[in-house]
């Protein structure tokens, strides 16, 4: 490393543009910050030695310089922006509407949006936000954040720490706010110092050279807010691990107690009752709106009881449920217990709980019941022996009946949403059964020779409540990241780092000042400080970029 010794005696690291201590421009390095073509010094990073601007030979240097460029960072952001926009053009896979003719993405996009939809699907935009390249893009933005911050923060911090009140003359006369005064008295300088102090400047002195400084911490604002963003990105990575994040869904019907998935069998939920409430259509206030839009729900609620199994230690041991929480779970009011959170997420109306069938003679036009039986759809029995001597065998049970692609009867789910049955009916004293197929709106006599017919006499329904279980231990990090980000933004945006230098020269002095923003405010400060003295007001020599 080629250290650079300045005439003031301070030894600067290689690549320094302005001496860290006295600010004298270091010859041969002025092109780095573009000072060679301008009168004013570029003060953004105090002329400190940044790795990205100093070492550019090895691969690592090149990668470092690449990511430390704000231009590259902004480009990454722009690419992410455009990609995100494209991702909202058509619905993402999880948002394909329920009533779409086909929810299979391979079919849906082309059918709905034509050739553009097909391209959208083929390129993977339908699940873009979890695609490798989108995550890579976010990762690169993260890398850019870290490298940009390190590249600038460390040298800037050092330079501001090392800075001396005594500055080289060139440093002062190449500042934006600058003036020279021929003759100034000692008392006047004292007066200025006092007034600056009153405006909460911190004054340091060295052989009559004065530095008045305030708001240095605002220079750290950008780095603080970027730390916040880095924490958020790290939290997002953590979230993809199961220890930190669990996401399960449980359906529980009214009256049922079931184990909650994702809790290692430790917790159970009982759904005592589920409600869907509606806004009263007679309500004077909302009458018109409800008339136009139809009924509006006012509440989804599961009256839930949460149990903890206290006997999970022994494998195979019978569970012993201990009630730990009774809570009405609603939208915006999830139930919380032992780090788990249960959200009301959906419901299934009118699921069948039981069905009662009657048997009548096929010829009987009034369909007078000869006998009847009730099937519990959750615990159906294989055989029902009736009072009048009938015996019914349940040959097949399809809880959620549909015809599959081959035209064979099958069950789409295990939930009794559209139950259908094949019963073998043994009339009294008979050993040869009659076969009946029965479901909702279906009643088929396979042979056409049945003496007895089965019909649905009655049924009971219930609601099934859908609840999402979440464990998210990363929330605290997201919260922390967001808080740090906000603090950083405020710190950097609403305070300014202001400095005023006074440099005695012969009988007079040089006066220069710098701020990272709001030059107008700084001028006001100086105006106040030098009021009624001989010191000349600084001149604003801003050079506008073309």
């Amino acid at each position: 490393m080629n250290k650079i010794k300045c005439e003031c005696g301070h030894v600067n690291p290689e690549g320094t543009v302005l001496c860290e201590a006295c600010g004298k421009p270091i010859e041969g390095n002025q092109h780095i910050d573009g000072n060679d073509k301008k009168l004013l010094l570029n003060m953004r990073y105090e002329g400190s030695a940044r790795r990205s601007q100093t070492y550019r030979k090895s691969i690592i240097d090149k990668v470092w310089s690449f990511f430390s460029s704000v231009k590259v960072g902004v480009w990454l952001i722009v690419i992410a922006l455009v990609a995100s926009m494209i991702g909202t053009l058509f619905p993402q896979q999880q948002f394909i509407p329920q009533n779409a003719e086909s929810r299979d993405p391979a079919v849906y996009y082309e059918a709905q949006f034509g050739i553009i939809g097909k391209i959208y699907y083929e390129l993977g935009f339908h699940e873009m936000y979890s695609s490798w390249w989108y995550l890579l893009l976010l990762g690169l933005i993260g890398v850019s954040l870290v490298i940009c911050s390190l590249d600038r923060f460390i040298p800037l911090y050092k330079a501001l720490k090392i800075q001396k009140p005594k500055r080289h003359e060139t440093f002062l006369n190449r500042q934006r706010l600058y003036s020279e005064t021929e003759a100034v008295s000692e008392t006047e300088i004292e007066q200025v110092k006092e007034r600056l102090r009153k405006q909460r400047y911190k004054i340091t002195e060295q052989n009559g050279h004065i530095l008045a400084e305030k708001g240095r911490f605002s220079r750290w604002g950008p780095y603080v807010n970027h730390i916040g963003l880095i924490i958020i990105l790290l939290a997002a990575i953590l979230r993809s691990t199961p220890i930190m994040f669990t996401d399960e869904y449980v359906w529980v019907r009214e009256g049922e107690t079931t184990v909650i998935p994702g809790t290692k069998g430790e917790y159970y939920i009982e759904n005592k009752k589920f409600y869907v409430d509606y806004h009263n259509p007679e309500d004077e206030r909302f009458k018109d709106a409800i008339e136009q839009s139809g009924m509006v729900e006012s509440n989804f609620q599961t009256d839930a009881v949460i149990y903890k199994d206290t006997n999970t230690g022994l494998p195979g041991a019978e569970s012993e449920l201990e009630k730990i929480l009774e809570y009405p779970i609603r939208m915006n009011q999830p139930a919380k217990f032992d780090g788990y959170t249960l959200y009301q997420s959906g419901y299934q109306p009118n699921e069948f709980s039981s069905m009662t069938f009657k048997i009548h003679e096929t010829d009987d036009e009034d369909a007078t019941a000869v006998d009847s039986f009730t099937v519990d759809l959750f615990e159906p029995e294989s055989e029902y022996i009736l009072d009048n001597g009938f015996r019914i065998e349940m040959e097949q049970y399809y809880p959620d009946y549909y015809l599959d692609d081959d035209g064979e009867p099958a069950s789409e789910t295990n939930f009794p949403r559209n139950p259908a049955f094949v019963f073998l009916v043994y009339p009294p004293e008979s050993s040869s059964p009659e076969v009946s197929f029965i479901g909702i709106g279906r009643n088929v006599d396979a042979t056409g020779e049945n003496e007895y017919k089965i019909g649905i006499q009655d049924f009971e329904t219930h609601f099934v409540s859908g609840l999402t279980l979440r464990v998210d231990r990363t929330l605290i990090f997201f919260g922390l990241g967001a808080a740090i980000f906000m603090i950083g933004v405020i710190q950097g945006m609403y305070w300014q780092h202001r400095r005023v230098w006074i440099h005695p020269k012969n009988n007079g002095l040089l006066l220069a000042a710098h701020t990272n923003k709001n030059w107008f405010g700084l001028s006001k400060d100086i105006e106040k400080a030098i009021e009624k003295t001989n010191i000349k007001m600084v001149e604003d020599r801003q050079e506008l970029d073309k």
């Binding site: 948002f95 553009i116 509006v296 939208m331 967001a482």
Partner: protein
């Protein structure tokens, strides 16, 4: 209901007051002969009337809240009206920071267009759906609106900067783009004018169409130029549509919305055309002399300042509070819903704005264009995402 009437009357009063205030702000420019004093008085009267108007609108908000039992932030009408109010509030704040009366001449009419736009949506009191039934509704929505209101001021200042600085002597690429921005404001006016005319005429036509596996009905309030895809006209005695909306436009009422867009473009273009014919020059060129007396630096400063203030507020409301509420309501703080994505896009965009400005020195004109585009993104998120891209935020 008396409170509801009172509420809508207050909104109307606010609208009229903003109009009057605009005239006073206009008076601060015109007269070169009048003395500085006169201009200052006109500006003071203007801001006073603006504040009274704002209080009237606040009255609208409070009385409507009392009438419905929940803060009126639940649908498009209520939110957009609130956004208009936030824009006026942002203007008042910025006015007291910089005392620039000219800003009112541009900011108030645009805020008025926003409020008029809101009133094109159904304005009956509507009950709150369970998802929205949370205190976070107030916190999230109002912070977002205030953030966007302040960013709106950066748009206004940026637009004024561009109108002032872009050379209008002959047609260039730049002044054509600027004209396009101004033209798009006319499209809003077109929407408002055509909706108002046909609503006064009580126009109605019903279509039946298929959406996925459902058969739905949709009511047109504007004569159908485009019918819903595979739609069938049910109403007798109305003009037949010219063509059908393309099949890829999906979601509820896609055809009707497309039809509304067509009407807005037609009406807006006619109004724009008439304006240009009357002025005999580009609208940008006609506005330019009004801004002769304003310092470009000051506009640039206002543009930056309002982003500096609006960006953190928007971040807080549109991302942080939004995420907290989403966590409480849906159990996930982020779900790549189109509305969320566009809030993120907005945030990224203004982050880029600040980076380009603070570390790459994009001041003045470049900054001005960015401020205009940024607000365009906000409007896109408000209008296109809510009404066209399906998602969790589709209220209206």
């Amino acid at each position: 209901m008396d409170l509801v009437n009172l509420s809508s009357n207050l909104l109307f009063v606010a609208f009229i007051l903003y109009l009057i205030a605009t005239l006073f702000f206009g008076a601060t420019i015109r007269d070169k002969r009048s003395k500085r004093n006169g201009k200052e008085i006109a500006g003071k009267i203007g801001i006073t009337i603006t504040i009274i108007g704002f209080l009237a609108q606040l009255g609208y908000f409070i009385t409507r809240w009392m009438a419905s039992g929940h803060a009126p932030l639940g649908n498009m009408f209520e939110f957009v009206t609130f956004l208009g109010m936030a824009m006026v509030l942002a203007f008042i704040i910025i006015y007291f920071m910089y005392r620039l009366s000219f800003l009112g001449l541009f900011a108030l009419p645009l805020a008025m267009i926003m409020i008029a736009y809101a009133s094109m949506f159904p304005s009956e009191l509507a009950p709150l759906v369970p998802t929205l039934n949370s205190n976070w509704l107030y916190i999230h929505v109002s912070t977002v609106a205030v953030g966007q209101g302040i960013l709106f001021i950066s748009f206004v200042a940026g637009l004024m900067y561009l109108i002032k600085q872009i050379d209008q002597r002959k047609r260039t690429k730049k002044n054509t783009w600027l004209e396009l921005v101004l033209y798009s404001i006319f499209l809003f006016i077109g929407f408002i004018v055509s909706s108002t005319i046909f609503s006064i005429m009580d126009y109605e036509a019903t279509f039946e169409y298929q959406d996925g596996t459902q058969i739905l009905e949709t009511e047109y309030r504007l004569p159908p130029i485009a019918a819903p895809n595979n739609g069938e006209l049910l109403t007798d005695g109305v003009r037949e549509p010219w063509f059908e909306a393309p099949a890829w436009m999906q979601g509820a009422d896609a055809g009707r919305k497309f039809n509304t867009v067509i009407w807005s473009v037609i009406t807006g273009t006619i109004i724009y055309g008439l304006t240009v014919l009357t002025l005999r020059k580009r609208v940008g060129a006609a506005l330019q002399p009004l801004l002769r007396g304003v310092k470009a630096d000051l506009l640039d400063e206002i543009m930056y300042r309002s982003v500096a203030i609006g960006f953190p507020i928007f971040t807080l409301g549109g991302l942080v509070f939004a995420a907290i509420w989403a966590q409480i309501a849906w159990g996930r703080f982020w779900g790549w819903d189109p509305k969320e994505v566009w809030a993120l896009i907005t945030w990224f965009f203004y982050a880029a704005f600040l980076h380009l400005r603070l570390s790459r020195g994009w001041h003045g004109e470049k900054s001005g264009w960015l401020a205009v585009i940024g607000f365009g993104i906000i409007l896109f998120n408000l209008i296109v995402v809510n009404l066209i891209l399906a998602g969790l935020h589709s209220y209206a």
